[in-house]
Symmetry: C2
């Protein structure tokens, strides 16, 4: 677990089930600090255990507060999530840009947090006035109300993406490697030889285009050495005289 972390604060959460789902979502993305402000059904809440799916440590270390002000007092920077349009003059971030800003501050050894409202009506304007800015999760304007844990999972995911670097796209080849071009050229020669024999490439005028098209199929497949051996076995098997 990295030292650069984000505190999640749930204000007046109602269902223990959602608190458990939040704990799971947090740990899935490496977050461990969960605070609750006036949880409706008190704390600890046995309803939270099953949906936490093993994120017990998060539940055990939950801190409970009687006010939003107290829950965020030791933090240096706090944003609030809200789907509703509060009548306030306030900076609005996307999850991505909010987490980017907070992560920069957290990397300077300052404590950052994000506030989430309860299931019924989200955050009150008074809570929001204690926060620097709003995070508005992009959503379908005709069905914008997200489940509490779903909101947290999006923020936690953006946080992990922000503070770590993942390859945008890789081809996993395991112990093997992408084939050398030579092996690919040998595959082409083998296949074209067999297709000449079978008569598939008999139209002299069309042959160059057909050959190019067939080669392109296998170019797109990013073949490994082993796969080229498999394909050559297939060609031998299909091309063998009966």
């Amino acid at each position: 677990m990295t030292k650069t972390t984000l505190t999640i604060i749930l204000v007046e959460p109602q269902l223990g089930q959602n608190i458990g789902a939040v704990a799971r979502a947090m740990l899935n993305f490496g977050l461990v600090n969960l605070r609750l402000v006036r949880p409706r059904d008190g704390w600890p809440n046995p309803e939270a255990i099953a949906p936490a799916a093993g994120a017990d440590k998060i539940l055990e270390n939950v801190q409970v507060f009687s006010s939003t002000s107290a829950a965020i007092s030791d933090l240096n920077r706090v944003f609030a999530t809200s789907a509703r349009s509060h009548d306030m003059i306030k900076s609005i971030y996307t999850p991505e840009t909010a987490v980017e800003a907070l992560a920069l501050t957290a990397k300077e050894d300052q404590k950052v947090g994000i506030l989430f409202g309860g299931e019924r009506c989200g955050l009150l304007s008074e809570d929001i006035s204690l926060c620097e800015a709003l995070i508005k999760i992009p959503s379908n304007s005709t069905f914008p109300s997200l489940n509490l844990a779903h909101s947290v999972v999006l923020i936690a995911y953006e946080w992990l993406v922000q503070i770590t670097s993942f390859p945008p796209h890789i081809l996993r080849t395991g112990k093997t490697r992408l084939a050398k071009r030579e092996s690919l050229h040998d595959l082409f020669a083998h296949l074209e030889q067999e297709l000449d024999k079978s008569g598939f490439l008999r139209h002299k005028k069309k042959r160059p285009t057909m050959v190019r098209n067939i080669r392109n199929i296998f170019q797109r497949a990013h073949l490994t050495e082993q796969e080229i051996r498999t394909l050559r076995g297939i060609i031998r098997s299909l091309g063998a005289p009966i």
Copy 2:
């Protein structure tokens, strides 16, 4: 709802509750096509209704299939989500890059989908072999197993972010506007005059630095005209002789 869409396919989902949560998550981000392959408890499933939280249309239009192959047969491009490392040579995308690739194809009027495995053990290798590539959601390697609906919410969110454009950061000022610089300068003059009178700026040598620091506080606040009027009222109120 845009025509450019993404089909979500759940293979052997177990809990109706999760199917409902998936429907809600989908509609939150504008997705409407949900397909199920061999749902454990059959379909329709009354357990799905409450967690769908009003996304009834998604539930009503669910299509059920007896095989993964049948469920994706009309699609042009299908990716599979998986947390586990399958022993396969396969392209691996992040949610962001996967959705980017699929959205480009969808915008060309081709049908795209993403496969999600059941709660217990995810997708089987056979299902994955029917898909072009894998999507690996970045996660905490010591606690990587996401709730099914949480996986879908991340993909659906990335999809909406990809196909629409949201301002990365705005200051909402409602009907009012950011103040003209002139009003800010008048505020500075007013405040500095009162602070000269009160003696706060009495140290001649320190005065220029103190003035600059105070000005910078108000620069960072992005004040509107109304807020400047409020601040000037505060200065008048505090500066008035008792």
